[in-house]
Symmetry: C2
Subunit: 392 residues, 2 copies
Amino acid sequence: MRVLILGGDGYLGWPTALRFSARGHEVSVVDNFARRRWVGGAGSDSLTPIADLEPRIAAWEANPAGDRIRSFVGGVEDGDFLDGVIAETKPEAVVHYGQQPSAPYSMISRQTAVETQQTNVVGNLNLLFSMRDHVPDAHLVKLGTMGEYGQPNIDIEEGYIEIEHNGRKDTLPFPKLPGSLYHCSKVHDSTNIHFACRTWGLRATDLNQGVVYGIETAETAGDERLITRFDYDELFGTVLNRFCLQAVIGHPLTVYGAGHQTRGFLNIRDTLACVELAVANPAERGDFRVFNQFTEQFSVLELAEKVKAAAEHLGYTVEINHLDNPRVEKEEHYYNAIHTKLLDLGLEPTLLGEELVESLLHTIERYKGNAIESSIDPHTRWNPAKSPAGQA
Amino acid sequence: MRVLILGGDGYLGWPTALRFSARGHEVSVVDNFARRRWVGGAGSDSLTPIADLEPRIAAWEANPAGDRIRSFVGGVEDGDFLDGVIAETKPEAVVHYGQQPSAPYSMISRQTAVETQQTNVVGNLNLLFSMRDHVPDAHLVKLGTMGEYGQPNIDIEEGYIEIEHNGRKDTLPFPKLPGSLYHCSKVHDSTNIHFACRTWGLRATDLNQGVVYGIETAETAGDERLITRFDYDELFGTVLNRFCLQAVIGHPLTVYGAGHQTRGFLNIRDTLACVELAVANPAERGDFRVFNQFTEQFSVLELAEKVKAAAEHLGYTVEINHLDNPRVEKEEHYYNAIHTKLLDLGLEPTLLGEELVESLLHTIERYKGNAIESSIDPHTRWNPAKSPAGQA
């Protein structure tokens, strides 16, 4: 199958490209290396040493499991560029990771908020038009986020909810309470994609993903030249990855507030499995399908405690620090999100056991010399008018 | 009160500015004249002769009811410009009409879709940041649209709905099914404003307005130099205004499909009354309030028949033409939208009687020599792949 990966140089995009290539698909990737620039601009860098895209692709092509990957350098927000790529590669499936992916980055300033929404919304809108015009039968697999739903006081369904109201019924988009301007941008994308499916008959799957953790995947594990990026800074690191790095370098774990915020989580290997399942089982024409893509729910404090236990088992000394929460969010709340559709398609979850945390800690140990500790603590406040109280 | 009107040169922005000025408020307006350019670029022009902004303001200042209005020329999507205006004028209320307001314009091409979402979403996001930073206690009165809701099979509530699900309850944003990429942009704005209220404690009222009709308001009726613009072309004319112009110049009324699409409507005088009521009764800090702003529901065919009857009463000969519907929308559907909050604040609706239609026809008759008939028929199709069938 011809598969186009937008954001194919990123944390998830790169191993996804290898996965599809290893399975014999014709893979093309698009990236403008914005993620590398954003992380660098924030004074951090990938913990893992990653080569430039071309040498990485060459390493993959030299690998026994490898095959040719075509690459296109440019941004999805450049509509003419993207249109040319779609017209040339005629993908049957487009996996769209090509976005600004950080909630705190979107909350730094007006400029980063606008950059986030413009990159994400315009890029995705460009894609919808190009798919309509060149490959209307192709399947869009879009990375959304569980953070679009926020923290409602009812069970979170997969994208839609049947509402009975004044004696009438309809199944409507699940109401959203996004938790940052980045999360808002993902809600906007969902609204635009749903519209494109209803109006133009496109087919799309929105993968409302939980928080991803992990480094290695089947394709990257054996060859260091293929390893994916690993971020642990305030802006681009995800919470479990951050905690693991912090434990290894002896930085107190940065729990925000009481740490009772509960979210869905999944291993990077399961991200790849979910994307593969979505591509192998495409949505119908006109259908905007939504899957909640995570395998387990944890509170942030539970995660910190898991990391502390596993790290202490390996001989590290770990302190948990409760920082004044820089985000505006409920710390005590109901949270129960349905996530059966990917399981129904055959997903076999990789659960977060102590062994898995230990393996992550081992991998980080190898690269800990690269860690830039100054990038770890949170400086971006959701509401700058609320002065920090009790921050350690 | 210091009132800032964004889009103060437009169809609704201009008479709104005069209304607040006539009531003794300190009014400033912002506009970049994009609406004039968009309409001109589409080969049309305002039916009513409108002077440039500065001479219009001078005419108002010379009028017995008039007072000083400050003007700032620039686009809301220019964040530094807008930030300067907010910092300088320190508004207590901001009425935000400064957007690309046409559904068909947003559906012409990728470029117009991107322009629409970029202008609207980025402009509104800039505004939210500037209000947060300079006037966090000011009240944002944002023009939304009833078209954000689409055509659900349940009653449409005012912005929120209480949902009971699996034994638990929450009041959540009413699910949206926007009918064009313009309508999607308004949904995005609502999501962003709601977030800003929850996170930064801003106060905002979203006026989900129905389709506006009419020309004259109390302040513009007596002095032709103060008249507001009147659009009747495919892209920027609203349906009742279009039908009235069509009846006067002998163009068959352009009903799309069967014409059973039902929507909420209101008179331009009621738009001004509603905005005034919202400003006079501000939302609480942190509150994102939504009012459904219309006074009556009609189907498109009912409107055509009303116009035909009134026009024939005045001696015009009127034909109704059912065109192949260029939009993708349900023509047969349930529609019942709640609209009590503005009535509760004291709105006294101007209902669409035959007399009112006749008065609109009389005003149009005065200017019919300006009509550009070639701009009337629809050329923009929501789904270009669906070839027109049975178009007259």
